[in-house]
């Protein structure tokens, strides 16, 4: 089996068409074709960590389902590690790990440790390998006290860490993560990102990350692909995406007392004032540090925070359409 290093994940003109039936009368049905993925082509080399983003319903999940072999493409060519996922789903399963943010792959009623033990046998992980990997996951993901706890009793953050561990125990070559940080608190998010970075750097695991949180991408991925209406609309660095989309970050400042809108700050413009709190927009490609320094020099600052633009806004700006 040929395993092209330059194209570990490879899609060529992949389409997925769903037939949707809509009841229009008692017996009459209307048939409509929905092209969830429409002529998608891209390649991901081995060991790369790629962000895969797009608005809801853009075709992200459908793509991931085709890459894992859950769904069969309607047309086009698709290979992961040289394997055609829909034809050899079970063989591919040993080489990929999948984490769904909204759905657990663990066994709901079993203690976390039992779930891991079952994964070990299902994937036929050699003993030595399993113990090393489990040890590493327990340490990295802080699972020490949780192995005896049934999955349904875990908090969302704990469960997510458990899911990530379960997806890593068999040393997958590819890791797909669908919204792995959704609903998590800041500490858990940071933990998850740290682990993904480590796995990618140390094991050379190829990672495809789907997310709504641009910070995930910013901190993890050099490359980002944007999909909209089933088509790839951007493929490159995140900074480039901001430039294309002319997206803005928001500096939210709390001053010690009320001031007129801050107009005299180069690179930033006030968009909203609410008592002592002001919202200043500045280009996403620009650093916030000099802005904050200039601000602190002229105004009495009480507090401040920076808000990232969300993906919908970035994409909406790219196409000038409302989200």
């Amino acid at each position: 089996m040929r395993e092209d290093q330059a194209a570990f994940i490879e899609l060529h003109e992949v389409c997925k068409v769903f037939e949707v039936h809509r009841r229009t009368g008692l017996l009459r049905r209307e048939r409509r074709e929905v092209r969830a993925v429409d002529g998608l082509s891209f390649t991901v080399p081995r060991g790369e960590m790629v962000g895969y983003i797009g608005p809801n319903g853009a075709g992200k999940s459908t793509t991931v389902k085709m890459l894992t072999g859950i769904l069969t493409p309607s047309s086009g060519r698709l290979r992961v590690a040289g394997i055609d996922p829909s034809r050899e789903r079970t063989r591919l399963a040993r080489r990929i790990g999948v984490v769904f943010g909204q759905r657990t792959t663990l066994w709901w009623d079993l203690p976390l440790g039992d779930s891991f033990a079952l994964v070990r046998r299902m994937y036929r992980i050699p003993d030595a390998r399993y113990h090393v990997n489990l040890e590493r996951c327990v340490q990295l993901l802080d699972l020490g006290g949780l192995l005896e706890v049934p999955v349904r009793q875990l908090s969302l953050g704990q469960r997510m860490r458990g899911d990530i561990a379960a997806a890593l125990l068999h040393d997958p070559d590819v890791l797909y993560l669908d919204e792995p940080t959704i609903g998590l608190d800041v500490v858990s998010k940071a933990k998850v990102r740290e682990v993904l970075r480590k796995v990618n750097a140390e094991q050379g695991t190829t990672v495809l990350l789907t997310t709504h949180d641009l910070t995930d991408i910013e901190q993890l991925c050099k490359r980002v692909m944007v999909i909209d209406q089933g088509r790839l609309v951007y493929d490159g660095a995140l900074a480039g995406l901001h430039a294309v989309g002319e997206s803005e970050r928001m500096l939210v400042v709390d001053l010690e007392r009320e001031f007129p809108p801050i107009e005299d700050l180069p690179g930033a413009r006030p968009v909203r004032v609410e008592g002592p709190r002001q919202w200043l927009a500045f280009p996403a490609g620009q650093s916030a540090a000099p802005l904050v320094a200039a601000l602190a020099e002229r105004y009495p600052l009480a507090d401040l925070s920076v808000r990232e633009p969300d993906i919908e806004q970035v994409i909406a700006r790219m196409y000038g359409s409302a989200p």
């Binding site: 894992t68 769904l71 069969t72 079970t90 769904f100 066994w107 009623d109 079952l118």
Partner: protein, 271 residues
């Protein structure tokens, strides 16, 4: 092919073993549940006993003969229900999306679906069925030989295989209609109740249906009629009643094909 079977059985065994271990953590609860299952499923036989306190024969069958029919179908159905009964949760999994998870694991999906939430308490029904069957065997007017004893064992096992085929086909239909579990229940649970009574009390069309369409008659009716030395109401040639194992293999093959078609349809529609 052989590899897939081996992988399926192995995966099935792994998951079942884990559920048994999980169940045995709460041993008392397991005992109470099994006892409950034993008693609840036994109520059907109590109903028959009550009926026989007023009558002496049902469709020409005496109580021991009915017990033989009842025990055989209960044991067969109990086995199939224990081994595959949870496959009909597929519809729910398809609806809530958790079915995709099964497709991500390197174990055949049917094995995972069948072993999911394996419930050892269902032993209750099997024990109950076997007890009634044993009582029926000891009371019926049959000259027991080793051949007839073996015939009885084969009857129970191929009956279980036929019910299993119905379970699998029923689960597969849920790929097309996720709400169809009630329809398949009418063939599995409904079929089990049907077979507890002698075929002579039902209309010939119904008996024909369960002989040639959904071959439930081969679970116990046809073989038991032979054991008891009775004519079958359809007047089929004698060798037909020995076809249980063949019918079971054919039914399982058909069910397997339906399952594959259903799975393929799911994977191309992603419903």
């Amino acid at each position: 092919m052989v590899e897939r079977w081996a992988s399926g059985l192995r995966g099935y065994g792994l998951i079942v073993a884990m559920w048994i271990r999980a169940t045995m953590v709460y041993r008392t609860s397991f005992i109470i549940n099994t006892l409950g299952n034993f008693l609840v499923t036994g109520l059907d036989f109590v109903a028959l006993l009550l009926m026989f306190s007023h009558i002496h024969a049902l469709g020409g069958f005496g109580l021991p003969e009915i017990a033989l029919l009842y025990g055989a179908t209960c044991s067969s159905f109990g086995l199939a229900d224990l081994l595959l009964g949870n496959a009909d949760r597929i519809g729910q999994r398809v609806r809530d999306g958790s079915f995709d998870i099964l497709l991500l694991r390197p174990v055949p999906v049917l094995a995972q679906a069948a072993a999911d939430r394996f419930a050892p308490r269902r032993l209750g029904r099997i024990v109950q069925g076997l007890l009634v069957l044993g009582w029926g065997i000891s009371r019926v007017d049959v000259n027991w030989t080793i051949g007839k004893a073996l015939f009885t064992v084969v009857m129970v096992i191929s009956g279980a295989a036929i019910f299993s085929a119905v379970f699998i086909a029923g689960a597969a239909f849920q790929f097309w209609a996720a709400e169809a579990s009630e329809v398949s229940n009418s063939f599995t649970y409904g079929g089990c109740t049907l077979l507890q009574y002698p075929p002579t009390v039902f209309a010939r069309e119904l008996v024909r249906g369960v002989t040639f369409v959904v071959p439930l008659a081969f679970v116990n009716w046809l073989p038991a009629l032979r054991l008891l030395g009775r004519e079958d109401p359809l007047g089929l040639p004698g060798w037909v009643s020995c076809c249980g194992p063949l019918v079971a293999v054919a039914a399982l093959t058909a069910a397997g094909l339906i399952w594959r078609a259903g799975l393929r349809s799911y994977r191309s529609t992603g419903s």
